[in-house]
């Protein structure tokens, strides 16, 4: 009971006021967050629409200029006229996309199969195999980069797409994720499939794979972006300009002072480098949210 003399209408009004303030505060905080995260992207977008001298003067324009078409055409076809003559974005985007795709598809394929073996089959050395895979979690590419480099060179895979992708495909994260997921699949599905007469391959294809679609989609997004953002390994293992990826190319375009950077082209290139991952997220997100809401174990 409220204290005497306070009527319910006043209490209700106070509640409304408090809720209104809560909403305003929440929104203020959200808007601040959006500004912090979106501002650099906005600067890049704006920067890619001005000519080199505008940005070169040191004023950072906040509104778009009129050079967008020229800048993007230059980035797409030639990579600019600057100190470091970059490869055209069309080539580097293709290299990056191919690399990220191969890494994502390769990792998912290998992980699905190895998790399938570890979870659903009894064979000697099963746990040893599992723990060996698990241990590689502690050895990311950066840690094993020198021996990996040696191996790739010895295998004559230097300066090749295979050399670029294979070492990045070998990793345990996806295997572990699929293992965890497979462990949640009820034994009855396996047994029902056995009685239906489905062998291991059919069970994998007809039942396990469709049930894993959601996880595959989610992992694909993560792994594609992981592959796309690779910098150190491509920098090391490829020096053929024809195989250069856009993340490496972009970094190389930024010089260290002895010549004018073509910021307008660099920014256009950065925007182009941003688009494919964004596209993958947007397209796949729809897909795996659909999967999340419709799949039932």
């Amino acid at each position: 009971m409220p204290a005497a003399g306070i009527d319910d209408a006043a209490l209700a009004a106070a509640t409304l006021r408090r809720q209104a303030w809560d909403r305003r505060l929440t929104h203020l905080w959200l808007i601040l967050g959006v500004l912090v995260f979106a501002f650099p992207v906005w600067i890049t977008l704006v920067g890619s629409t001005h000519d080199a001298s505008t940005i070169g003067r040191g004023d950072v324009p906040l509104l778009p200029g009129g050079q967008a078409i020229a800048n993007y055409t230059a980035a797409w076809t030639s990579g600019g006229e600057g100190r470091y003559r970059a490869s055209p974005a069309s080539l580097m985007l293709w290299n990056s996309a191919l690399m990220a795709l191969l890494i994502a598809v390769g990792k998912i394929t290998i992980s699905l199969l190895s998790a399938y073996a570890v979870v659903f089959f009894q064979f000697p050395g099963r746990m040893l195999a599992f723990w060996t895979i698990f241990l590689t979690l502690m050895l990311p590419v950066e840690v094993r980069i020198i021996p990996t480099y040696q191996v790739i060179v010895s295998l004559d895979l230097f300066n090749s797409m295979a050399g670029l992708t294979i070492p990045l495909i070998a990793s345990a994260t996806a295997t572990l994720l699929f293992r965890q997921f497979f462990l949640t699949i009820p034994d009855e599905y396996v047994e029902a499939a056995k009685i239906d007469g489905a062998g291991p391959v059919r069970f994998f294809r007809d039942i396990l794979l469709p049930l894993s679609v959601t996880n595959i989609a989610a992992l694909f997004v993560i792994l594609f972006i992981y592959g796309w953002n690779q910098y150190l390994w491509p920098l090391l293992v490829v020096n053929d300009r024809g195989l250069e990826t856009i993340v490496v190319g972009l970094a190389k375009m930024i010089g260290n002072g002895d010549a004018q950077n073509e910021w307008n082209i660099i920014m256009a290139m950065a925007v182009l480098a941003l688009l494919p991952p964004v596209l993958v997220v947007v397209v796949m997100q729809r897909w795996f949210i659909k999967g999340l809401t419709e799949t039932e174990k």
Binding site: E191, A192, K194, I195, D196, G197, I207, P210, L211, K297
Partner: protein, 354 residues
């Protein structure tokens, strides 16, 4: 149409033996219910028949063909699982057709069989739905349908009704029974529910600690339980057990609670003073003006009948089921009719007959 023979099946998981030699012969078209408490080995037995587990020793034959070493798919059986195990990404129709598709049946025949089974079960309108869009009872029907389309020699049911609510369970129970009679397929049905067991089975297998304690018709199991375990398991409320010794040259029992009761059906073999366990069902105990005094400590009115719990003066618990409302007062007088007594050897728990 087939018979099933289970011969000397044992099963050990590591050092734990869960089945100690089970023998069972099932006639063509018969419905056998395997009933027992959890952990008695009933599901293991079913899974061995299905081929999902391998027996440590023993043989399984279906329709005279030894299937002990065969894969589940080659045994010509169908199984209905407790959680139905319907593939969630396939429609009802695809779920039912999957086994036939793998066997490589021509498409028109698959479609025809699925339609027939669906009509039989009243689920024709659900064929394009996914399992998650169905209610529990509908899923149950689909699981049955998936078993039926295979036209197997043997149906195996692994507690298929235990995920349903009470009302639906009674309804599906009757439906399964009707369907099994109509199709005449030999069936094995596992349950822990004695009502299901009594109503569904042509014969029951009461499992206890890895043995088949009794294999008989439901009425036989109820009227002449083979040992104290079966006697206590079947019937609700459970049978009362009273200690006593053989007296009067095998003609009577001297109960620890006092009275000496003459057997109605003749003398039991055994030495004078042999320790016995006397069983009597709560509904067979008569209340009256004379007899043993039973102080009551709990009265459960069930409407048409009343269940009374009490302790005899010597400390033995006794449950009595009487027709009609509860009698007044803190104690009643009960008599134990001689014709309703079950006599068991106290040491082995086995039934003692004339």
């Amino acid at each position: 149409m087939a018979t099933l023979d289970v011969a000397g099946v044992t099963k050990s998981f590591g050092t734990t033996q869960v089945l100690h030699g089970v023998d069972l012969t099932v006639a063509d078209g018969e419905m056998i219910v395997i009933v027992g408490a959890s952990g008695c080995g009933k599901s293991t037995l079913l899974r061995i028949v299905a081929g999902l587990e391998t027996a440590t020793t023993g043989r399984i034959s279906i329709a005279g063909r030894d299937v002990t070493g065969l894969e589940p798919a080659d045994r010509d059986i169908a199984m209905v699982f407790q959680n139905y195990a319907l593939y969630p990404h396939m429609t009802v129709g695809q779920n039912m057709a999957y086994g036939l598709r793998i066997r490589g049946l021509p498409k028109p025949e698959i479609a025809q069989r699925v339609t027939e089974a669906a009509t039989l079960l009243g689920i024709e309108s659900l064929l394009d739905r996914r399992p998650r869009q169905l209610s529990g009872g509908q899923r149950q029907r689909v699981a049955m349908g998936r078993a039926i389309v295979r036209e197997p020699k043997l149906f195996l049911f692994d507690e298929p009704l235990s995920n349903l609510d009470a009302k639906l369970r009674v309804q599906m129970r009757a439906e399964i029974r009707r369907l099994q009679r109509r199709l005449g397929v030999t069936s094995l049905f596992v349950t822990h529910d004695q009502t299901e067991a009594m109503t569904l089975g042509d014969r029951l297998v009461v499992m206890h600690a890895g043995h088949a304690a009794q294999v008989a018709t439901p009425m036989e199991v109820w009227a002449r339980p083979a040992d104290t375990y079966v006697a206590g398991f079947i019937g609700s409320p459970a049978m009362n057990f009273l200690a006593g010794t053989l007296a009067d040259a095998g003609q009577a029992v001297a109960l620890a609670a006092g009275p000496v009761l003459r057997f109605a059906d003749g003398p039991r073999p055994g030495p004078e003073g042999l320790p016995l366990t006397i069983g009597i069902r709560p509904e067979h105990i008569e209340a009256g003006a004379s007899g043993l005094t039973l102080p009551l400590d709990l009265v459960e009115p069930l409407g048409s009948e009343t269940v009374l719990h009490g302790r005899l003066p010597n400390g033995e618990a006794l449950t009595v089921k009487l027709a009609g409302p509860a009698p007044a007062g803190p104690a009643i007088q009960v008599t134990l009719p001689a014709a309703a007594l079950h006599v068991f050897d106290a040491a082995s728990g086995k039934r003692l007959d004339r």
